[in-house]
């Protein structure tokens, strides 16, 4: 709201909520003007977590940007990586393998569930439902275990690569995912029993933080917050990327655009994400199987020696080898099915890097300063459906190894611009659930 300098009415009180306040996840400040307990005016101040993401990325190579994108929305980092890598691939006009597309969708949906679990858990906790928070975070932990198994890290996976993935899924991943899905499903049922018809919880949410569909669109809302107003815009359905057009899922919408609708939309979206994950597991094509050399594991040096033979021993080319544990997941069998066939973009498997001059050169060309991935000149905008809404990357390339301009369109920025509309006319206590239901993520808001 526009501040108009004039004498405030004598009975109005001014209150600063934040920047360090337990209910302001991250750091954000809301100036409130109160009439009794009712908010008559408010102003949201952001930027406390600004770290110059876009400036930094303009001085990093494309590959170096990927771990930075993890720090945008840090509760669903894999979606950020997918969005960025898709944008770079669009610049190249590059297609990744079908298996890789399925794995990316799978990981995005796991991330979406962790995002929604965190949002609902945190806002339930702020309303006093600490046990619901603990159940939800327990479920999130099982998903973090899956992500850790695949990428090596729980929160900052750095798993997606331009043109592919860091490595294929580990053995037995499918069964473990099914188990984890069962666990998440039972936690969701439990949460429904704990919260959905809980009198205290419903009273604190329903009819509050209302935003009309027109206002929501005008404020640039996307994601669950837009869908809670009844507009079923979801990037996954409106502009299907990867393999979302091959998957069957529903986009839940609300009716009134209040906090309770946002809660319900998120709960239903998690169920739909579970459906997507199960379909991914069922449809995912298996890559060609590796031939084992008499079932015997070989040392890297043996393989390298075999490669040097003229002509190279064919069985050895496809043999399974065990590299140093540090390099696990970078062997040929872990990457051959999930990376694109484009040597100017994807890293060679480690056997090649250490085994032959072509691999070494390819690695060198991608890693060394001044070389790197070089998309053609041009500009693209790629949107993906993040946890909170449309996450877009606008990339301008000048043909060098550094992005000329990288703009991140985070959904939170737009959601926060609408916060004032949502809280005015309500009481101070209602700021907490309304703010919680927006699921503001500081890393993405302030970049």
């Amino acid at each position: 709201m526009k501040p108009v300098p004039h004498e405030p009415p004598r009975d109005h009180m001014f209150l600063n909520m934040g920047p360090s306040h337990p209910a302001m996840h991250g750091i954000i400040q809301i100036h409130l003007e109160l009439d009794g307990e009712t908010i008559v005016g408010s102003q949201v101040e952001i930027g406390y977590l600004h770290r110059g993401f876009e400036k930094t990325c303009e001085n990093r190579t494309y590959t170096q940007v990927i771990p930075y994108t993890d720090r945008l929305n840090y509760v669903s980092p894999l979606i950020n990586e997918v969005g960025f890598c898709l944008a770079v691939e669009k610049l190249f006009g590059l297609n990744v393998t079908r298996r890789c597309q399925y794995i990316r969708v799978l990981m995005s949906e796991i991330s979406r569930i962790t995002d929604h679990l965190t949002c609902i858990g945190a806002s339930a906790m702020e309303l006093g439902a600490v046990s619901a928070f603990l159940y939800l975070i327990k479920a999130r932990e099982t998903l973090y275990d899956l992500i850790e198994e695949v990428s090596g890290a729980r929160v900052m996976p750095n798993y997606i690569r331009v043109g592919g993935l860091k490595s294929d899924l580990p053995e037995g991943f499918e069964e473990r995912t099914r188990l984890a899905m069962g666990e998440v499903r039972s936690v969701l049922d439990e949460t429904h029993r704990l919260l959905t018809r809980n009198r205290i919880f419903v009273d604190r949410l329903s009819g509050l933080g209302v935003i009309s569909a027109e206002d929501a669109v005008s404020h640039g809302f996307t994601g669950p917050c837009l869908r809670s107003t009844g507009i079923g815009y979801d990037v996954r359905q409106a502009e299907p990327y990867l393999v979302y057009d091959r998957l069957d899922f529903d986009v839940p919408v609300g009716e009134t655009g209040d906090n309770y609708d946002r809660y319900l939309v998120r709960m239903e979206e998690m169920k739909q994400s579970l459906r997507i994950i199960e379909q991914c597991l069922a449809q995912m094509p298996q890559g060609p199987y590796q031939v084992d050399l008499d079932g015997r594991e070989m040392t890297p040096s043996e393989v390298i020696e075999g490669m040097k033979a003229k002509p190279p021993l064919q069985p050895i080319r496809q043999a399974r080898i065990r590299l140093s544990p540090d390099l696990e997941g970078t062997e040929k069998r872990s990457v051959q099915d999930v990376v694109a066939d484009d040597k100017t973009v994807v890293f060679p498997p480690k056997e090649d890097t250490y085994g032959n001059i072509e691999g070494l050169m390819q690695h060198f060309k991608l890693v060394m300063y001044g070389h790197g991935i070089r998309p053609p000149r041009g500009e693209v905008y790629q949107a993906v459906e993040g946890g909170n809404g449309e996450l877009g990357f606008y990339l301008v390339s000048d043909g060098t190894d550094l992005p000329y301009r990288l703009r991140c369109r985070g959904p939170c920025f737009h959601l926060m611009s609408g916060l004032s509309t949502m809280i005015e006319g309500e009481t101070v206590a209602d700021v907490v659930p309304t703010f919680g239901s927006i699921n503001m993520i500081g890393g993405e808001l302030d970049r």
Binding site: M1, P8, D35, P240, H414, T421
Partner: protein
């Protein structure tokens, strides 16, 4: 898959713009339209209100500094628009010279333009005419320079800021508003 508007719709837009249309191109299936700065607001209004185009969502608004590319004029204002109803997307650009970095504000059309334009001012120093309160959003008021300009050094340090005086709070409402009492309080007899 990004979906650009149909060629007929783009032709219709071009016809409407006339000489204000500076360039039109497509790359990787994305349509870009460059308009003259004086037609910026009107083009956006047309794109938003025309029933066939119906670009209701201002997805993003940002600036590209073309200095290192040798572009002239220096800045380019870039808006991404999306139509939820028609499911198409367009990129709209306008050149902004450095010496008179001023464009009409889009705040009459979209509410999120307020914050997006504040960010563009904060990061690039592009001014928006008719913006209700054009002040920094991510950085603090005493910050010197505009960091996303290409000539702003990556590791530049900012001077320390003196302690600010405590300002008297100013009312944020133009006239006293009385919201109805929350019905839940009635149960407590208030």
């Amino acid at each position: 898959m990004s979906s650009s508007p149909t060629p007929e719709l783009l032709d219709k837009l071009a016809e409407r713009l006339g000489s204000h249309l500076l360039r039109r191109d497509a790359f990787r299936g994305e349509a870009t339209v460059v308009v003259a700065p004086q037609a910026w607001l009107e083009t956006c209004r047309f794109l938003k209100e025309d029933p066939e185009l119906a670009f209701g969502l201002l997805v993003d608004l940002t600036v590209v500094d073309l200095q290192a590319l040798g572009g002239s004029p220096r800045f380019e204002l870039v808006a991404h628009l999306y139509s939820i109803r028609k499911r198409h997307r367009i990129r709209l650009k306008t050149p902004v010279p450095e010496d008179q970095a001023q464009v009409p504000s889009l705040t009459p059309l979209w509410k999120n333009a307020n914050w997006l334009e504040r960010e563009a001012w904060d990061m690039f120093g592009v001014r928006f005419l008719g913006h209700p309160e054009l002040r920094r959003i991510l950085l603090y008021p005493e910050f010197e320079g505009h960091p996303l300009r290409r000539d702003y050094p990556l590791r530049k340090r900012q001077p320390l800021v003196a302690e600010r005086d405590v300002e008297e709070p100013r009312s944020m409402v133009s006239e006293p508003v009385r919201y109805p009492v929350d019905p839940r309080f009635k149960t407590f007899g208030v």
